[in-house]
């Protein structure tokens, strides 16, 4: 095992913690390459450290988001019921499927998701036109009204109330997100946030906060198994933890104060960079 600089580890934790909690993605995506390529830590130890870091980051971010009522706890618990079996299925499938082909397809899909997430100017419709274009699912909303949420947004200084649409589609996609996150080790956040925002019409801030809660559930199992198998080294993880904790507090504070539109743009840039990186890795260019 190589010698590691504890300040470099703490700094890595701070950056991953800030970005991970601000965007609801965990931060493992940037942590694994830093630990392996820059610090020379073997892959399995890097993944073990990354998974543990995501749990810490997700729990810290959730403690802040849920205190501010931004996290939709009921929606998070519901989506976790399919994400967890998805993550287990992905872990079992990992040895049987070709990772580069999946990375390539997934990267291309994420670029398309980036395109659909780009904020556009709202169309000004007459009341008749608005009624005609209303989502038919809205009229069948009553059975899942228990998933509705509201939170105070300090950036616009008003209460935001919303309905969570298409819970069944969200759950089905959640299973897929769990499979992909285990297969490619990307963390479910980059799938959960667009699914909640685009398909379920959950505002971006609530989607990010709820994604943090989901990450805690999906990575808890994996990190305990890595720890059980001896792939979590105290001298690597100990300096990372304070950095992640501070980063997670910083990230949640930024996310609360930034306008939703700006947060969406940051998320799209992060998603695009991730997708390009995945395609390059699949093609053995990076």
């Amino acid at each position: 095992m190589p010698d590691v600089n504890i300040w470099a580890l703490a700094g890595t934790g701070l950056i991953a913690g800030t970005l991970g909690s601000m965007l609801g993605v965990g931060g493992g995506l940037m942590m694994v390459p830093i630990l392996t390529l820059w610090m020379g830590i073997p892959m399995q130890y890097a993944i073990g450290s990354s998974l543990v870091s995501i749990v810490i980051n997700a729990c810290t971010a959730t403690s802040v988001y849920i205190d501010n009522h931004v996290t939709n706890l009921k929606l998070g618990l519901l989506l976790a019921t399919t994400l967890i079996p998805g993550a287990v299925a992905g872990a079992l499938l990992a040895s049987k499927l070709s990772s580069p082909v999946l990375s390539l397809l997934f990267g291309a899909l994420m670029i398309y998701v980036c395109y659909t997430l780009i904020p556009r100017k709202p169309n000004r419709l007459s009341p008749e036109e608005f009624e005609a274009t209303r989502d038919p699912h809205e009229k069948e909303h009553a059975p899942h009204a228990w998933l509705d949420g509201s939170y105070y947004d300090p950036a616009i200084r008003q209460e935001v109330s919303y309905q969570a649409h298409r819970p069944v589609t969200g759950m089905a996609t959640g299973f897929f997100a769990g499979v992909i996150s285990s297969l490619l080790g990307v963390g479910g956040g980059i799938i959960n946030v667009p699914v909640m925002n685009l398909l379920m019409k959950v505002p971006i801030k609530a989607a990010i906060a709820t994604s943090s809660l989901l990450l805690a559930f999906t990575t808890m199992t994996g990190s305990l198994i890595y720890a059980y198998n001896g792939y979590v080294m105290p001298y690597i993880i100990a300096p990372l933890i304070p950095g992640i904790f501070l980063g997670a507090r910083l990230g949640t504070a930024i996310a609360r104060r930034v306008q939703s539109r700006a947060l969406m743009v940051i998320f799209i840039v992060f998603l695009l960079a991730t997708s390009v990186l995945m395609i390059l890795r699949a093609l053995n260019i990076f």
């Binding site: 749990v55 519901l78 019921t81 198994i225 100990a238 304070p242």
Partner: protein
């Protein structure tokens, strides 16, 4: 408007507060233990903690002020926090008799138990 315990919004907010408090306490204790482990390793000049302490010898090693035991204890407290969220939510939904979230909690407990059994095999 006065918020009573019958108000669903007030009930949800009280659940949110309880979950947040539990997470803050858990993270605080976990972080304190990890930091204590780092400080002890620096004081006794043993920067390379060889591995996590097995749970069976955790308490004796904590009493011996082993840095790895402190980090292990802190880590396990933090790693079990998602399960704490589930337990608090489950107890809350039993109290409020909300059928759908209660079913979701039960399914989630079964899922987590099944996934451990499957993956640890």
């Amino acid at each position: 408007m006065m918020q009573t315990i019958d108000n669903p919004q007030a009930k949800l907010q009280s659940l949110n507060k309880r979950v947040s408090l539990a997470l803050r306490i858990g993270i605080g204790i976990g972080l304190a233990l990890v930091l204590a482990g780092i400080v002890i390793s620096i004081v006794i000049n043993a920067p390379h903690m060889s591995g996590l302490t097995p749970l069976i010898s955790l308490i004796p090693d904590l009493l011996k002020l082993s840095p790895a035991a402190f980090v292990t204890a802190g880590l396990f407290i933090i790693l079990l926090l998602p399960a704490v969220i589930l337990i608090i939510s489950f107890a809350h939904f039993i109290g409020t008799r909300e059928k759908q979230p209660l079913i979701v909690c039960v399914v989630l407990v079964l899922m987590l138990a099944a996934s451990y059994v499957l993956l640890l095999k």
